[in-house]
Every structure is written in structure tokens, then in C-alpha cells.
Symmetry: C2
Subunit: 245 residues, 2 copies
DNA sequence: CCTATTTGTCTATTGTTCTATACAATTAGA
DNA sequence: TCTAATTGTATAGAACAATAGACAAATAGG
């Protein structure tokens, strides 16, 4: 199966990268190294139908990513790291959602700015286009690994000074509480996937060609008024989205 | 912004492919060709910092995909095709979900087989591992374009002959109805994303490096008993998942 | 301590991708 | 009808990816 599938040549994707992608997949599903040890390079190169050096390039990139660990004379081993499951429901919260899956969860404010609302943002927040909105750029980590990169918009007039409160508390939920919003709900979530762009690549510490899961969501207060519009990019090989019905 | 982001070299992904990915993205968000006409090749090649021929390769692949249309002497134009929005809720249905977004929706049964349940399948269906299950391999299309590729498992004893009924009616909902299940609910959905494997590439008519959104779901009858376990691969550039809370 | 197995390094060759330059063909507009 | 702008084609060289073969270095096991 994995052995017989031919690798596509001159497809614009280097063989070593195609192999790296398939090895990452095989490792995740446990079909490639059930015991945590990779087959020898020579065996793998024959299985994929490429030269040993090409296969070594694939391994090198997975070592770089932290998925594998090579030891001269011994073999190449999988560095175990399970995918986090991020729950999406009407009560989606970053920190609470990952509780029990990671010891340490935190969010970092990268930057913030007040700007006129783009049409899409304005519509989601239920305000007129051009109304000043606060834009927050954040990164969330679990156990020191970047998990997601978010851009959030809030109405500037209603949430003046929100950025400072957020930077200090490092929690959206806590910051909202300071603005009199004890509870909030997720109204809608849109999920797409795409290749990570150079910015996400850098902020999430991914390698080129990596995939991000993108969620576009609207949060509303208990009266149903939109308070936050956000686009979050999750590193697809570190997170899965768990939808609660 | 898109102008200043440098393209990554020797990343294992050909420059023309990286540029094609970013152009597809830019076209989808409307930042690259707001009026439906692409900037001239020379301007774009300078913007991306590559040779005109490299940029032409990117355009050629997007023309091949049907995203662009080039006309000598006039320019290169976007062939409008919006992304379908696939709703996921407790009442997820393929055909009904895409109503109003595509004139024609249909599913095709590629193959089916009865086999012993793998542990993961068994657990989700609430049966013992090894119990015979019916596996269905299907492709769903909207207006003739492949949208998703699914693998579904049902308990073989309870749904004997299901495959024939499904092949004939071309609808899971209709087939369930014939087995006395007038209504069913989606219990859970897990969403991940990865590169399309060679099989999905072929079945969905994608080009190498394409991304698939993967949903793993369990459907239950009105009494809450699991009746179907499925893994669906959506072409990420044709579909977005819309989560209803 | 020796041997087989495995990963690491080196050099050379071939094929593919990207660049550079030039010019042809088509279209739109003055 | 002429010109400018644009896409299409051709050719050659430079940079990069993949193959091939040989051997070094570390490890595990008899």
C-alpha cells in the first residue's frame, strides 16, 4: 500500500518532501514505526523507490521538525508527541479546552492596533464598515509549543484598553470579564485548511509546505450581541478540532 | 504584504508551486485580482521576486486547475468558482446541506466490502472488535466536481444489503430509511487536515500537494445507538466546513 | 574483540528547475 | 494603421535535486 503507491516526479514538490509528508502521516497513524523505531534507511529507500540519499533528506527534515531522532549505529526513532484535541462548541475557550492535555497553556499578545473595520469584519460584528476596531495578533502555546496564531477584532469604542488588560492577564476570557462580560458564547465557526503562509510559518515554527487549519468565528455576549470576530490558524499536525454537538 | 513576503528557496517545494498556492489564496480572498483580472506577468514576477517564466509556470498550473484563463494579448482572468460551505451540525446531511449552492448533488458508491471491524471502528460503533462490518467507499460531487471522498462503516448484521440500496438510491439518508431509520443524528465530528494521499488525489481530481480536510464522525439513531462511523476527505480548496452551534 | 548493522560523510554524474535574454503573436486603443 | 501592452515560444546557462558508489563512525550482540 504505502510501498506500492508511486511517488510523483516533476510535480513541483521535491521527492524528499513528498516522502517526508508520507512518513509523517505513516508515523501519525502508526503504520510506519509501530514500535517507535523506523525501518533502516536502505529498506525505506527501497520501499519508496528512491535513492538512500533522497530518503535521508526526508528523514533530515523530520528530524528538524522534531518528529524523528536519528542515532548513529542504532537507528532512527520516533519522538512521541500526540496531537492535541481542541474542542469547538458554543463554549469554546482556549485554556479550558486543552486542560488535561497540556500542563502549561498560555497566549501571547504579539501586537495590537486600532483600525477602520473592513466590510467582512464589520458585518460579523454588526457595525458599520469603517467603524474603529481593535485588532489583536496573538499566539497560543501548549507546553511551550506554538499551537495557534489568531487575529481578533473587537469594537474599539466598547473595549478601549482591552489590549493592555489582555496582555497582562493573557486570557481573552479574563479580559472580557474585566469589561463586564462574565460569559460569552460562540455563535458560528467556519473551518478551512490551506498551506501556511510565510508569517504563520515563522510564528508557529513550521516548515514550508505545512498545513494550517483556519477557523473563522464570531463570539457573542449573553444577549446575543457580537463582541469578537476572529481568524485562528492552527498547526494542522499538532491539533485536531473536536466538534461537540 | 504579499509583495514583501519572500518566497522560500530550497524548501523542497518548487517556486512555481509556492507561487501558485499563494496566488490561489490571493484570488480566493480577492486581494490579488479584485476586478477578476490578474496583474500582468511582469508585474507579478517582480512582486514575487522571481523570473517571469517561473511565474508563468504557476499561472499554467492554475489554468490547468481551472482557476485562471489566459488570453494572449488581453490578459489573464479569474474563472469565478466560489467555495462550497458544508454545514456540520447534529443533522448533517450531504445533499440537503449543499442545497442552493449547487444545482446537482450526488454520491457514487466506488466499492464495498464486509470485513472484521478494526479496534477504532468497533469502539465507535459500540461493537466488539472483529465483528463483521460493511465498509463503503464513496465519492460525492456537486455540479460534476468531486467534493469529498468518504469511507463509512456500518454493522454488517444490522445493515445486510445496505450497499445495494445505497448504490441505487445514491443517498445515505434514503438508504437508512429503507432499514427503518427515519431519522439519525451526528454525535461527534473530529476535524483534521493533511496532504492528500495518492488515492484521494486521483479520486478527487486534485493536483499533488493539495490539502484535504478530514472529518471523522459518528452517526447515531434516535435512541442514541451508533449506526455509522465515517472518515470523509474534503478537497480543501473547494469546501469549507460550517459549524452550527 | 570481532562482526554485522546502522547512520554519517564525501565525490561525481545526471536530470530538473530557475534565470536571462530575445523575439513572435494577439489585442486594444490612439 | 501604428503603437503599446500583453501573453506565447525558444534557447542557453546557472542553481538545485536525485542518483550512484564508496567508505567512515557508532552501536549491539555473539
Amino acid at each position: 500500500m504505502m510501498a506500492t503507491d508511486p511517488i510523483e516526479r516533476r510535480s513541483g514538490i521535491a521527492l524528499w518532501r513528498q516522502i517526508a509528508d508520507r512518513m509523517r502521516q505513516g508515523i501519525a497513524t502508526g503504520t510506519l514505526a509501530p514500535d517507535g523505531r523506523l525501518p533502516p534507511e536502505l529498506a525505506l529507500s527501497e520501499r519508496f523507490g528512491v535513492n538512500r540519499h533522497t530518503l535521508r533528506s526526508a528523514i533530515a527534515s523530520l528530524v528538524q521538525e522534531g518528529v524523528l531522532r536519528a542515532e548513529q549505529g542504532r537507528g532512527t526513532f520516533v519522538t512521541e508527541r500526540r496531537r492535541l484535541s481542541y474542542p469547538i462548541s458554543s463554549r469554546t475557550r482556549f485554556s479550558a479546552g486543552l486542560e488535561g492535555q497540556a500542563r502549561e497553556r498560555r497566549s501571547l499578545l504579539l501586537s495590537h492596533a486600532v483600525e477602520p473595520a473592513e466590510p467582512a469584519v464589520a458585518e460579523s460584528l454588526g457595525i458599520a464598515a469603517g467603524t474603529p476596531v481593535l485588532r489583536l495578533e496573538t499566539v497560543s502555546e501548549a507546553d511551550g509549543r506554538p499551537i495557534s496564531r489568531a487575529t481578533a477584532w473587537l469594537e474599539a469604542a466598547r473595549f478601549a484598553g482591552f489590549a493592555d488588560v489582555y496582555a497582562e492577564s493573557r486570557s481573552i476570557t479574563a479580559a472580557f470579564a474585566r469589561f463586564g462580560i462574565a460569559d460569552y458564547l460562540r455563535k458560528s465557526t467556519l473551518v478551512t485548511a490551506r498551506h501556511a503562509d510565510p508569517v504563520d510559518l515563522a510564528d508557529l515554527g513550521l516548515s514550508p509546505g505545512a498545513i494550517v487549519l483556519v477557523t473563522v468565528a464570531v463570539n457573542v455576549d449573553i444577549e446575543g450581541r457580537p463582541i469578537q470576530f476572529s481568524e485562528t490558524r492552527f498547526a494542522a499536525d499538532r491539533v485536531e478540532l473536536s466538534i461537540q454537538n
